[in-house]
């Protein structure tokens, strides 16, 4: 029986995109900080906060864009699950990335 295409993965991506941005930001930030504080890759002055800051601002901008695009779903009581969940997760990712970015302003060096 032929059934219409449901675009399962496209819908899944629509909902989880903000979380994927958070994963990418967290993995890159943690990975770079760890790499630049190991004996093999030790960077004088500690992790590159400029690069980390740039990545954080980019991730924040992406999540803000996703939240802005999903703002209608937050107001619309009839919005579908994918739209509403995507918008909620965009705000959540925005908060989580902003919070993770704060140490960049406060912490320098490896120790």
């Amino acid at each position: 029986m032929k059934t219409p295409t449901e675009h399962f993965f496209r819908r899944a991506l629509q909902v989880t995109l903000p979380l994927l941005v958070w994963i990418a930001h967290f993995a890159f930030s943690y990975g770079l900080a760890a790499a630049q504080c190991t004996p093999a890759g030790l960077r004088p002055g500690g992790p590159d906060r400029l690069l980390l800051g740039g990545v954080t601002v980019t991730a924040l901008a992406l999540c803000a864009l996703l939240a802005w695009r999903g703002r209608g779903a937050l107001r619309d009581r009839q919005a579908g699950l994918a739209e509403r969940a995507g918008a909620v997760l965009a705000i959540l990712a925005l908060v989580a990335i902003a919070w993770a970015g704060l140490p960049l302003l406060l912490v320098s060096g490896c120790a």
């Binding site: 399962f8 979380l19 760890a34 190991t38 093999a40 890759g41 969940a85 909620v88 997760l89 912490v107």
Partner: protein, 831 residues
């Protein structure tokens, strides 16, 4: 009258035939049952048995600590007792019980007749039951693990733990990991592909959402601990120094791998409980769940954010301050989606008219305790505070508030709520109040003082303490509380035993719940599979229960004369095909016995017997697979009056194809963990490769990759040769290529690498060994495929074996190439 999928009166004898197909065998044959209801009940019962056994160990701990300088338990026994308490609670109770409840509840809640792989569920259960009981019995021989439930090296290396105790932990939990992953695959495929027609993702019960998220978390979290335990066991067995600093290893590598599993694990335990709470609260409040879509988003958010918290268990391990700050931030961020759920539950209770009863009491108890545990969780996410309380009783108090509050209380609420499904009888409301207040009061009395004893400096895991330290009174109060809590559990056990022995009554819908598990149900599930049009179907469609019972919805019969359910599309839940399910069999139990015995006998170094049991396990699995994937006599059947439904599906439409993909994701995650270990130990080197080690020539590695690619090309050709005589020969030729590739690899590695000389070489050996394991798998699969082809069991409608083996084959090729790339790139990056 509403239009239903089947409107004609049902023919005589139809129901009797359905009952016959699904009938549970009586007497000792009951244990060959694979039906989700029977396996689910056995699973829940066994998990609760382990809860009691681990609880007894907890009482022993409290008895020992009741007074200073107590001599009830010696230091060595105490070490085994607290290690087993934590290990059994986490691995043999907490994870299994949430999967067990899902195995029991989900098919009915989703409107399916059973889960898509009933024999896999049975295998997962029996592996857990056999292995778990044998593992627990190590206590009686003084061979139980004694390194704490997270088994940190170097304490658990051979230098400081020379006995078998640590090996029992490392190999003993192997079968639990296999069981949990098998359960996760079953749940993901079941939730996505066997929902009742019309039950879109938006209408799916929140509990099913929670279990979907949890099953996906298991897929990504468990591989880390599988890899970690494999590495530590390899170190102990063959002196491969992954965690020995003098030879380039790093004890922190274990901590990273363990906690990358261990922290999501907390949410793997909590989210199913949260899903149950989100299912029970609307019923007891008599109103739809407030913020349903936000709760689903929160479940997804918690599931993902929880993977960024692992290192908050390592704040005192010497990580860089910036890395710790990222993890601290994630630890605080995860409180946001958790709070969304708590506020939504409070709002639902506020909005509705709350039924007073046992589930309500336990749900309120859950919220009180869990919120307190969450708040101390935020406290320990603050790095300087964690430095003060790390490894003290404050942490013991915190995680018991989170785990008992966040999981045990909801599970007890669930037992009160769903137990009537078993035989129609409810537990006693009078006794329930006693049970609740004993458990709630006892819990707070036991664990609240531990916050204070921790702040006063009492460390975890001490088997006794001096009377002058000021902890005496607090410890005595904790002990009294623990025994009160145990009395509550004991009273519950008596009541449950009494209730389950009572004569069965019609189940009905005692709480006036909105979800499908309260439809009339027998061994075959519901009389017909409901068509769903809302997320609270029993509230919004009052006639639904009667229509389903009259056989007016989908599949009111056994269309092929076998066990069946309807496979639906993942988003809209449109009927796609009839999924024919396997019947009862002893083979899953036999295979499970072989698996558990293999791991345990390996631990006690009875190698020939262990390998014999391993072969029994493989034989059992192949035996049950041999009977599956056969062409049905029917091409289509009528599950509803209006249109025919195909029997079975192939390729990406097949549920088995998806299960294979998920298994390969697990596989890739284990490989990634080994690759991480290699990168981690490489980054500790000043010169890479380290002195005395060298990689084989690049041409040799390229030749190996070429052979793997040739094997894959032959398998690709085999897939296009269905029905032709060359197919089995192509599979065997592909096997030749894979074997040649591995022999070439082995020669190369052995020339320049000594795995016991450095952690770097050992990490490469681990990657090579993992690839070798896949070649052994192909060594089994290729002849199996050839045999099926020769016996005529491969055809256009029975090609799942071919398609799935092809997937495994191509994955092995990719993994081999990825291993070569990772190993070769790292020294280049470090130059």
């Amino acid at each position: 009258m509403r239009t239903t999928p089947n409107t004609a009166p049902r023919p005589d004898g139809e129901l009797e035939k359905l009952e016959e197909v699904w009938r549970t065998r009586r007497g000792w044959r009951f244990f060959s049952s694979v039906n989700n209801t029977n396996i689910g009940l056995l699973y829940i019962g066994t998990a609760l048995l382990f809860f009691v056994l681990a609880g007894v160990l907890g009482l022993l701990i409290r008895a020992q600590l009741a007074v200073p300088q107590n001599t009830l338990l010696g230091a060595e026994t105490y070490n085994q007792v607290f290690t087993m308490h934590g290990t059994v609670m986490m691995f043999l109770f907490a994870i299994p019980v949430v999967e067990a409840i899902a195995v029991y509840l989900l098919p009915n809640m989703l409107g399916a007749r059973d889960l898509p792989f009933p024999r896999l569920s049975a295998y997962a259960y029996w592996a857990y039951a056999f292995g778990g009981l044998a593992f627990f019995c190590t206590l009686f021989a003084g061979l139980a693990p004694d390194g704490g439930w997270f088994m940190y090296p170097p304490l658990t290396g051979t230098k400081y733990s020379p006995g078998l105790n640590a090996d029992f932990w490392l190999l003993g939990i192997g079968f639990i990991e296999i069981s949990a992953i098998a359960g996760a695959i079953e749940l993901i495929v079941g939730i996505l592909f066997t929902r009742a027609p019309g039950m879109t993702l938006g209408r799916m019960p929140v509990y099913a959402w929670a279990m979907l998220v949890v099953a996906l978390m298991i897929v990504f979290a468990f591989p880390a601990v599988i890899a970690g335990t494999a590495l530590l066991e390899l170190e102990r067995a063959f002196d491969w120094p992954f965690f020995i600093a003098e030879r380039g290893g790093d004890p922190l590598l274990w901590q990273h791998l363990f906690w990358f599993f261990g922290h999501p694990e907390v949410y793997i335990i909590f989210l199913p409980a949260a899903g149950m709470v989100s299912t029970m609260i609307p019923t007891i409040a008599g109103t739809p769940l407030v913020g349903r879509r936000a709760i689903i988003a929160a479940l997804l958010g918690v599931g993902v954010l929880s993977f960024g918290l692992w290192a908050h268990h390592m704040f005192t391990a010497g990580l860089g301050v910036l890395e710790m700050s990222f993890v601290s931030a994630a630890s605080m961020a995860v409180a946001v989606p958790t709070a969304i759920q708590v506020f939504a539950w409070i709002a639902t209770l506020w909005k509705g008219k709350v039924q007073r009863g046992a589930p309500t009491l336990f749900l309120l108890g859950f919220m009180f305790i869990f919120v307190l545990g969450g708040l101390t969780g935020v406290m320990v996410a603050v790095i300087p505070f964690d430095w003060q309380v790390h490894d003290t009783y404050f942490i013991v108090a915190h995680f018991h508030y989170v785990l008992i509050g966040g999981m045990v209380f909801p599970v007890f609420a669930a037992l009160y709520y769903w137990l009537p499904l078993v035989n129609g009888n409810r537990l006693s409301e009078v006794l329930a109040r006693w049970v609740f207040w004993l458990m709630f009061g006892g819990f707070n009395l036991a664990f609240f003082p531990m916050h204070i004893s921790g702040l006063l400096g009492m460390p975890r895991r001490v088997y006794t303490y001096g009377p002058e330290l000021g902890w005496n009174g607090l410890n005595m109060v904790s002990t009294v509380g623990a025994f009160l809590f145990a009395a509550g559990v004991g009273l519950f056990a008596v009541d449950a035993f009494r209730t389950l022995r009572r004569e069965a009554r019609p189940v009905g819908n005692p709480w006036n719940a909105p979800t499908l598990e309260w439809l009339g149900s027998e061994d075959y599930g519901n009389r017909s599979i409901a068509r769903v049009s809302s997320h609270d179907p029993l509230w919004d469609e009052p006639e639904l229960a009667r229509e389903v019972e009259e056989g007016r919805h989908y599949l009111p019969h056994s269309a092929t004369g076998e066990r069946e359910t309807i496979a639906t599309s993942p988003v809209a839940a449109a009927p796609r095909y009839l999924l024919v399910l396997p019947g009862d069999s002893w083979l899953p139990m036999l295979a499970a016995f072989g698996t558990a015995a293999f791991f345990l006998l390996l631990t006690v170094k009875l190698y020939p017997l262990a390998w014999a049991c391993g072969l029994l396990a493989v034989g059992g699995v192949l035996g049950w697979m041999w009977g599956s994937d056969r062409e049905s006599a029917h091409e289509t059947v009528r599950a509803e009056a209006s249109q025919p439904l195909p029997v079975g599906a192939t390729g990406t439409a097949s549920h088995s194809w998806w299960a294979t993909i998920i298994m390969l994701v697990v596989d890739a995650s284990i490989f990634a963990s080994f690759a991480f270990a290699y990168v981690h130990v490489s980054m500790r080197l000043m010169v890479c490769p380290p002195p005395g080690a060298s990689l084989p020539p690049l041409t040799q590695a390229l030749a190996s990759c070429g052979l793997l690619l040739s094997g894959s090309a032959l398998v690709w050709l085999a897939r296009r040769s269905l029905g032709k005589r060359r197919l089995p020969w192509l599979a065997l030729a592909a096997l030749g290529c894979a074997l040649a590739s591995f022999v070439l690899d082995l020669q190369g590695w052995r020339a320049g690498l000594d795995p016991s000389a450095s952690a770097w070489a050992a990490a490469i050996a681990a990657l090579a060994g993992y690839q070798g394991l896949h070649i052994v798998l192909l060594l089994v699969l290729a002849p199996y495929l050839a045999l099926r082809a020769w016996r005529g069991h491969l055809g256009p409608r029975s090609r799942a074996t071919l398609d799935n083996i092809a997937l495994v084959w191509h994955y092995t090729t990719l993994q081999g190439i990825a291993a070569v790339a990772v190993v070769r790139l790292m020294p280049l990056v470090m130059e």
